[in-house]
């Protein structure tokens, strides 16, 4: 009897690894342990043995039954986990590159715009918005630009077809529509709508009729800031710009005012910056933006009392700042949209 049992165990041990599914397994298990199974057949022979041998044989059968059961259990576990694994398929090569697109990213101009906005937000500026299609009043007249100032020339400013009527760009009278040359027009629209005090920045697209080259672009982006309150001084302007440039360029950045002229500020300044740690670019004073104290004529135009309110305004070119910060030598790259360029800053 023992040799039969040994043979059955050996057969099972040989057969189990070849079973590929639970169905095969159950089928095979029945041929061994089922009612008509080989092992069952052996157990049935126990009754034919002499009684004295029966206890020994019973013990033997139990022992083999346990050993078989262990083999079957193990095989079942193997099949169970194989079945689960089949649900997620064959293993992958984790070192393969992603078959999908690379990450998305913001355009450098947006990146720098948001950086500046968030720096200024910390000192109380909020973003205001206004139209790109403007009128001569908001872009020039209200900003104290002389009637025959060259900036109003067809040569320098884009005008919109004289027959065009806008549905959502308001005019003061019947002045011409144009493409704004600076976002200062947003300041005018905001001041006409809101009473002082206010502290706004107007980032946005501007247009000048320039032939494109490494430093000129048919459209570009500006951020204009306007701060109106009681007792705003030249010193505040300097303090806030120092804060802005230190935030952008690092704690070693310095700014310098130079007297200049803008029709909508008095006094007016050009701002140079210097940041020695930027290396060659940063060691000399470099012109970066214009600013000044809001001209009383501008306040009078929007109905703010210039005796009560003072304020400052500054405007900077986003492309200019971006090019300085990232060492880009041609503004046209910013509008060319070569993925190899765009992704460097994403």
């Amino acid at each position: 009897m023992e040799s039969d049992l040994k043979q059955i165990l050996a057969d099972v041990e040989e057969a189990l690894p070849g079973l590929g599914s639970k169905a095969q397994f159950e089928q095979y298990k029945a041929t061994v342990l089922g009612p008509n199974g080989k092992f069952t057949a052996v157990t049935k022979t126990i009754g034919k043995l002499p009684p004295a041998e029966r206890p020994g044989a019973g013990k033997l059968i139990n022992e083999y039954k346990n050993r078989l059961q262990a083999r079957f259990d193990e095989a079942l576990r193997r099949l169970d986990s194989a079945e689960l694994a089949a649900k997620v398929g064959p293993s992958v090569d984790v070192t393969l590159p992603s078959p999908d697109y690379g990450p998305g990213g913001a355009h450098l101009v947006s990146e720098v715009r948001e950086e500046i906005c968030s720096i200024l937000r910390k000192i109380g500026f909020v973003v205001a918005d206004g139209p790109e299609a403007e009128t001569e009043y908001y872009c020039f007249d209200a900003l104290n630009t002389p009637k025959d100032h060259p900036a109003r020339d067809l040569h320098d400013t884009y005008y919109i077809h004289p027959e065009t009527r806008f549905g959502n760009v308001s005019r003061k009278g019947d002045e011409r529509f144009l493409l704004r040359t600076h976002t200062s027009s947003v300041q005018i629209r905001t001041m006409l709508e809101q009473p002082p005090p206010l502290r706004i920045i107007a980032p946005g697209r501007c247009f000048r009729r320039d032939t494109a080259d490494a430093t000129h672009s048919a459209n570009f982006h500006q951020i204009e800031a306007l701060y109106v309150d009681k007792g705003v001084t030249v010193r505040d302007l300097k303090a806030d710009l120092d804060y802005l440039f230190r935030s952008l360029l690092g704690p070693e950045a310095e700014t310098r005012f130079r007297p200049h002229y803008f029709s909508y500020t008095e006094p007016s300044f050009e701002v140079d910056f210097r940041a020695g740690h930027l290396g060659k670019v940063g060691s000399e004073w470099m012109e970066i933006m214009g600013c000044g104290m809001v001209d009383p004529a501008v306040f009078a135009e929007v109905g703010y009392d210039p005796e009560v309110w003072t304020g400052y305004a500054f405007g900077l070119g986003i492309e200019r700042i971006a090019m300085t910060l990232y060492g880009i030598d041609d503004i046209r790259y910013l509008y060319q949209n070569d993925f190899r360029f765009l992704r460097q800053f994403a």
Binding site: P131, R165, R205, R235, Y243, H260, N337, F339
Partner: protein, 814 residues
């Protein structure tokens, strides 16, 4: 504008101030220096004229010679020289030991190949005179031996190219710049003396009268008669001065007028009296079509907006701009009529611009010359003419009109100034700064006994008329780089960013999160492109009046062409394409009016990436999902049942694209597959999926509405599936809307709510007629109060099945 340091030093001493200090002063006083050019010989010591007495071969070097050179009364010196271009007896320039040549090259006694050289003979380049380095400089006009080189050559000069802002016409002259430097360096400014005494002349005039017929454009005109001049070349000093700033000397009289223009900023004009026809000078507007040949030899046609100076017959000068060849001073000129006038800036500006002719004269008139400067400038010029060309001035001038009245006195409170500055400058400091600019400052007190400055403004400072203008003057001279550092003073933020900006930011960040790269394109597009793809925007209304190029002639109605440009550009550069988006303003026409709208547009190649694993192509529904999610950020909920298929629009592929919204709602979108003819025009190899959303700023700025909580049921739903066979062209959204309506109607009054009706299967094929399709819906019922039983739901469902087929042409698929 170019200014010469030597010329400036005629009016202000700059001893001990080097060029870089002058450059910095100009910059800090408000005149940006765009370039500094050094010309000629700087002051040099121990460099003198010598004569080569003899020369012979160097014993140890073939290419050197040993020369005996006499530099004074003593013995000749031995000098070793490498040049060969001289002969014995030539006068040359010798740098003696102790001399320092430009470039800090010090001359010492030294041995060259064993022979001691006691100096060096110099080339022009070594002296900084020019580029000539072929040999040493040989002085053919043989100056005295021992003469300092500075006496042989003109003194050097430094030229500053400076930017003069439009508010400062007073600085468009050497005296103007000298005035600023005198103020900055606290030195004296010396005006040229006037020597002529008009009353000493014989009296009378060379023309009978001067009339201004156009007083508004020419308020003031003076004409001086000078008799008996001798035209000839200008002296060396005058030629040098004019040449230094890039002018070409002509003759002594013309040069004198030019000199005064650049000295004082007042343009003058000298007429040859014998060329004046008739006996009077008339200032008038040109006649339409009147012709004149200007001094640049161009025939010009004038219009009535232009002012001329004319004789009895014809225009002789385009007033303030340029003279004509007809009255030009030339070698034969003997008698002169000298004009000095004040012309209206706008009139001159308009004329110069219309003629496309900008001259030194028009530039100054159009920015505004000193209204009271005409007389002084004329007298200064007469002095020069008499000095250089002889002749005599007959007497007082013929005068038309008077200088415009521009007396100004500004009351300035020093405390108010400090309030604007935010830091302290003393009253005395302010008065000193203003005084140094030739403003007439008197210290007094106001009614409350507080200090007050009464500031008289000279006529040439057209830009100063308000107290705030003086704040700038004080600050300029105090030093704008001395604004003290300070802490940021900031207080609470009671406003928020504009909603349009906030939305744009959120949409961009959503798209970036989904793997889209932001791009940026120009707002100006080609008119032909606009017409072809966006023909519904009338071409003209988006046109610019004055485009610079035909491919940038129109405002963009859509961001999509830019995105296609991006794909085409990167495809050409063999960069794999990837999803992109752009945000920006576009211009769209509705009912004859153009609206500026915010657009957000995205695009991606339909075929996906080209990597080792190919994904399924992007389909309409993937694009629609992105559109839906962006709309959600704007508070617009999107129901595909409201999508309208696009047809008849070149920009979108019929059957694969949809529209949503409408201008009147404040938002709209088109999305799906771009027109295949469109993408092939851009030479793209793959069809492009895209979406373009448009919002009016007004819509985004609407008051936000906070949503209210809606209670939801704690009981399970009961779901019934219903398949409807409908004509193949029927939109699923339409059937769904119908079914939803029918279901709600059927459930009315039963206490059962129809929670949702959704398509879960679309089938065509076996068992369905060829011209029909099966749409399977699952209808979810729920009660807020109880678990629904079949007994309750079945009658409602039966009613729905009955109702939906009535008159609809649909049938229920069993």
């Amino acid at each position: 504008m170019i200014v010469s340091r030597n010329w400036i030093e005629r009016y202000v001493g700059l001893d001990g101030i080097d060029d870089s200090a002058v450059e910095r002063a100009l910059t800090m006083v408000g005149f940006e220096v765009e370039g500094v050019t050094r010309k000629g010989l700087p002051p040099l010591e121990n460099i003198v004229v010598g004569e080569v007495v003899s020369h012979g071969k160097h014993p140890n070097a073939d290419r050197l010679s040993v020369c005996q050179v006499r530099v004074d009364g003593g013995d000749p010196r031995t000098i070793v020289c490498g040049a060969k271009n001289f002969a014995d007896g030539d006068r040359v320039i010798v740098a003696l030991p102790g001399a320092v040549l430009p470039g800090d090259f010090e001359i010492k006694v030294s041995k060259l190949r064993g022979v001691e050289s006691q100096g060096m003979m110099c080339s022009e380049r070594e002296l900084g005179l020019g580029e000539d380095h072929a040999g040493i400089a040989v002085l053919t006009d043989r100056p005295e031996i021992g003469t300092s080189v500075n006496e042989v050559f003109d003194a050097g000069d430094t030229l500053f190219d400076i930017e003069i802002t439009p508010n400062r016409p007073d600085a468009l002259s050497h005296i103007g710049i000298a005035r600023e430097l005198a103020a900055w360096f606290k030195r004296d400014l010396v005006y040229p003396d006037i020597r002529v005494n008009l009353l000493a002349g014989p009296g009378g005039h060379l023309v009978e009268s001067v009339v201004s017929e156009t007083e508004e454009n020419c308020p003031h005109y003076r004409g001086y008669s000078i008799r008996g001049v001798k035209i000839g070349p200008s002296p060396h000093w005058l030629k040098t001065a004019l040449e230094s700033i890039g002018l070409r000397p002509v003759n002594n009289v013309v040069d004198a007028t030019n000199f005064v223009l650049h000295e004082l900023g007042q343009p003058l004009h000298a007429f040859d009296v014998k060329k004046i026809r008739g006996d009077r000078i008339v200032v008038r507007q040109a006649r339409k079509g009147e012709r004149i040949t200007t001094l640049d030899d161009k025939n010009r046609t004038l219009d009535s907006g232009m002012m001329v100076i004319a004789d009895a017959e014809r225009a002789l000068v385009v007033a303030g701009v340029m003279g004509s060849v007809d009255a030009e001073v030339d070698d034969t000129t003997v008698d002169i009529f000298l004009e000095s006038a004040y012309f209206n800036p706008s009139s001159v500006r308009r004329t110069a611009r219309t003629l496309g002719l900008s001259t030194d004269s028009s530039y100054r008139f159009e920015r505004g010359v000193d209204p009271k400067g005409a007389e002084y400038a004329a007298l200064r010029c007469i002095d020069l003419i008499v000095e250089l060309a002889g002749g005599e001035v007959l007497g007082p001038p013929l005068v038309a009109g008077e200088p415009p009245f521009i007396e100004r006195e500004i009351e300035l409170s020093p405390a108010w100034v400090r309030g604007r500055l935010g830091f302290d400058i003393s009253d005395e400091g302010m008065a000193a700064h203003l005084g140094s600019l030739e403003l007439d400052v008197r210290e007094t007190t106001d009614g409350d006994d507080r200090p007050l400055l009464l500031v008289g403004v000279p006529s040439f400072r057209l830009d100063l008329y308000r107290p705030i203008d003086l704040v700038e003057e004080i600050l300029r001279l105090h030093g704008t780089d001395k604004v003290p550092p300070a802490e940021v003073r900031t207080h609470g933020l009671l406003a928020d960013d504009d909603p349009l900006v906030v939305f744009t930011r959120r949409a961009a960040s959503l798209l970036i999160g989904r793997g889209y790269q932001e791009v940026a394109h120009y707002s100006l597009r080609d008119g032909a492109e606009v017409k072809k793809w966006y023909g519904h925007c009338a071409e003209d209304s988006l046109a610019l009046t004055n485009p610079l190029a035909s491919d940038a002639s129109h405002l963009r109605p859509s961001l999509i062409p830019g995105l296609l440009d991006c794909f085409a550009f990167n495809q050409a550069r063999l960069n794999p394409l990837a999803p992109v988006f752009e945000t920006g303003r576009v211009f769209r026409e509705y009912d004859g009016k153009v609206f500026e709208m915010l657009s957000i547009a995205f695009a991606l190649p339909r075929e996906g990436t080209e990597g080792w694993l190919r994904r399924e192509p992007v389909d309409f529904h993937a694009v629609a999902r992105v559109v839906r999610d962006i709309f959600l950020l704007a508070g617009v909920s999107v129901d595909p049942a409201r999508f309208e298929p696009v047809s008849g629009d070149n920009a979108w592929q019929a059957g694969h694209a949809a529209r949503f919204g409408g201008f009147k709602m404040g938002f709209e979108a088109a999305f799906g597959v771009l027109g295949l003819t469109m993408t092939s025009q851009w030479d793209l190899r793959t069809p492009v999926c895209a979406g373009a959303l448009y919002f009016t700023p007004e819509y985004l700025k609407r008051e936000p509405r906070r949503r209210r909580y809606q209670a939801f049921s704690a009981f399970p739903p009961a779901t019934r599936d219903l398949a409807l066979v409908v004509p193949v062209g029927t939109a699923a959204g339409h059937v769904r809307t119908e079914l939803q309506r029918v279901a709600r109607q059927a459930a009315k009054g039963t206490g059962i709510e129809v929670e949702s009706v959704d398509v879960f299967d679309v089938y065509r094929g076996k068992g369905i007629p060829a011209d029909a399709k099966s749409l399977a819906f699952s209808i979810v019922f729920r009660s807020p109060e109880r678990t629904l039983t079949d007994k309750e739901v079945n009658p409602v469902f039966d009613a729905i099945q009955e109702k939906i087929v009535e008159g609809s042409g649909y049938s229920v698929r069993k």
